[in-house]
């Protein structure tokens, strides 16, 4: 696959404190990667470095082969800052027109604003917008042109649940068009379903970088199965080695590797089993695992 964002051994110091310790991360064309971490874990610094807004202390960063902050890199990159803000005296249309001209794009501004649900507010001053509307305007400027890389910092902050759905639909569209998308977020349940890969930062280290399934396997977190017996729960306990929950149910915790074997055992019991629920480890469990792991 086409690597758009390539970060290798990125080091950054602020004064005497090292805030990024040799971070490696790549995002390919069409890939959606979630960047997770506590406040102060280094996510924003990482994004600023990719944008060329702050100098790197060591290592290398390439955006479609260009140096961060270079004209070519900036032309390829779209950015949605956390809690995006604009000059309150300009209208949505004027602000987007300015951005389009700076990017050297001939863009269909009304169409873009329609796309993010701001068609009614086109000619109203941004000062009158709600936080969610400003966020939508921020998203509209991400869609200007055809960015190769989109850096979205907390894109859903201030959005209601419906708008969040819309936002992820737009992100999916971007990725489908071949854009590499990096989403820094705290909203674990959202990114869980909507990204291809998850990177977790902790105190300036990248402590995890894999698919959700891969992370679960590495963390050794177990999948929970809850099996309900038609009549004899004790027989179920005997076969599966699980734990009696209540009258009819048994709970089993199992490694990802043993999941299929267990399912076959359960299926072999035929009519003795009334129902099976499978709960894989959630991103929240994984995040807790990786973000709290011992020091590197």
């Amino acid at each position: 696959m086409d690597k758009i964002l390539e970060i290798q051994g990125l080091v950054k110091d602020r004064g005497k404190t090292r805030v990024l310790h040799g971070v490696d991360l790549t995002v390919s064309a069409g890939e959606r990667v979630a960047l997770l971490g506590h406040n102060g874990a280094g996510k924003s610094t990482l994004i600023k470095t990719v944008l060329g807004l702050t100098k790197l202390g060591g290592g290398s960063v390439k955006i479609a082969g260009h140096k961060p902050g270079s004209g070519a890199a900036r032309a390829d990159t779209a950015f949605l800052p956390e809690a995006v803000s604009f000059h309150p005296a300009l209208t949505g249309r004027e602000q987007l027109t300015l951005f389009a001209r700076l990017a050297g794009q001939k863009a269909d501004i009304p169409g873009l604003l329609e796309r993010v649900g701001l068609a009614d507010a086109l000619d109203r001053r941004i000062g009158t917008y709600s936080k969610g509307m400003r966020q939508r305007l921020g998203l509209a400027q991400v869609l200007l042109g055809k960015p190769k890389l989109a850096l979205l910092d907390e894109p859903t902050s201030g959005l209601d649940p419906i708008s969040r759905q819309d936002l992820y639909a737009i992100i999916d569209e971007l990725a489908a068009g071949g854009c590499a998308v990096l989403i820094a977020s705290h909203a674990l349940t959202e990114v869980e379903a909507r990204t291809d890969r998850i990177a977790i930062m902790r105190k300036g280290h990248l402590v995890a970088d894999d698919t959700l399934a891969g992370l679960s396997a590495k963390a050794g977190l177990r999948t929970k199965m809850r099996v309900r017996a038609t009549s004899d729960a004790d027989a179920l306990v005997k076969v599966t080695g699980g734990r009696r929950m209540n009258g009819a149910s048994v709970e089993i915790e199992i490694d990802a590797a043993g999941k299929m074997d267990m399912l076959q055992k359960i299926a072999a019991m035929g009519g003795a089993v009334a129902d099976v629920d499978i709960t894989p480890p959630r991103l929240e469990d994984l995040y807790r695992h990786y973000a709290k792991e011992g020091m590197h």
């Binding site: 600023k48 950015f79 000059h87 050297g104």
Partner: protein, 272 residues
């Protein structure tokens, strides 16, 4: 042209937040007040009323042009940074120099409008009431042009403090400090030195050059030295005649470039 896109947006902002209107109104009110207040000595000096009006307005502009310019420019960078819109702007392909140049073009255009309308209307009234010669019309045009130039110097100095300051509030404080130093304290310091020196080498040789090195004084010298009748009306011929005629225009021409270079250097270090 990316800087033109920035300039257009900045011009809109100046018009929307009433800055353009307020700056023009301030110029008109002060210029008219001075013209009417200064209408007395025309007969005794033998110069027309426009000359007297221009002379008063030169003194006004020394204070007002830097003040208006600094008030427009002090939050150009710090304000955007504080609002949180600077990071996004800098992620676009426009260079930092282009951003500054765009803001400068818009702010300078606003100053030009304010100066032209303010001094122009006062000048027109003075000419209508007390007559005007060709020389005094030139003096008025020179006043407008040099006032814009002087304003331009302080616009760039405003961007510089705006880039150096941690917040818009501290940028405002630094801008006030700049104004005080260039417009008031520098002259007071020179005056003190001249009094101490009592007509020695410093007063004869160094003092005029030190004076013309300050853009506010260069503005004053240029306007006064260029017109005999203005010099007569202002009673300030001595210092101007000690310098070659190119000194003041050169100083006012170099300062905006110097200020812009300083602002650009300071802006480069800004990390949103």
């Amino acid at each position: 042209m990316r800087f033109l896109a920035i300039a257009q947006a900045e011009m809109r902002i100046l018009a929307r937040n009433r800055w353009l209107f307020m700056a023009t109104l301030i110029m008109v009110l002060f210029a008219l007040a001075l013209t009417f207040a200064g209408s007395a000595p025309t007969g005794t000096l033998g110069v027309d009323m426009l000359t007297v009006s221009v002379t008063s307005m030169i003194t006004l502009s020394v204070y007002l042009a830097p003040l208006l310019a600094l008030m427009m420019s002090f939050d150009a960078v710090a304000g955007d940074a504080e609002r949180g819109s600077l990071g996004l702007l800098l992620s676009y392909p426009a260079g930092r120099g282009e951003i500054l140049l765009g803001k400068f073009a818009a702010h300078l255009a606003a100053l030009t409008i304010a100066m032209t309308v303010g001094f122009g209307s006062a000048g027109a009234i003075a000419a209508y009431m007390g007559g005007a010669g060709l020389e005094s019309v030139f003096a008025l045009l020179r006043l407008i042009g040099t006032s814009v130039l002087l304003g331009g110097v302080f616009l760039t100095l405003g961007y510089m403090v705006s880039s150096l300051a941690k917040s818009a509030t501290s940028a405002a404080g630094m801008a006030a400090g700049l104004w005080l130093i260039f417009v008031v304290l520098y002259d007071l310091g020179l005056l003190g030195a001249v009094v101490m020196d009592s007509g020695g080498w410093f007063t004869e040789t160094l003092f005029p050059w030190l004076m013309v090195a300050n853009p506010a004084d260069a503005f004053r010298l240029w306007n006064i030295a260029s017109s005999e009748s203005v010099a007569l009306a202002s009673g300030m011929v001595g210092a101007a005649s000690a310098l070659p005629s190119w000194a003041a225009p050169l100083s006012l021409a170099i300062w905006p470039l110097l200020g812009f270079a300083f602002a650009r250097l300071a802006f480069r270090r800004v990390e949103p």
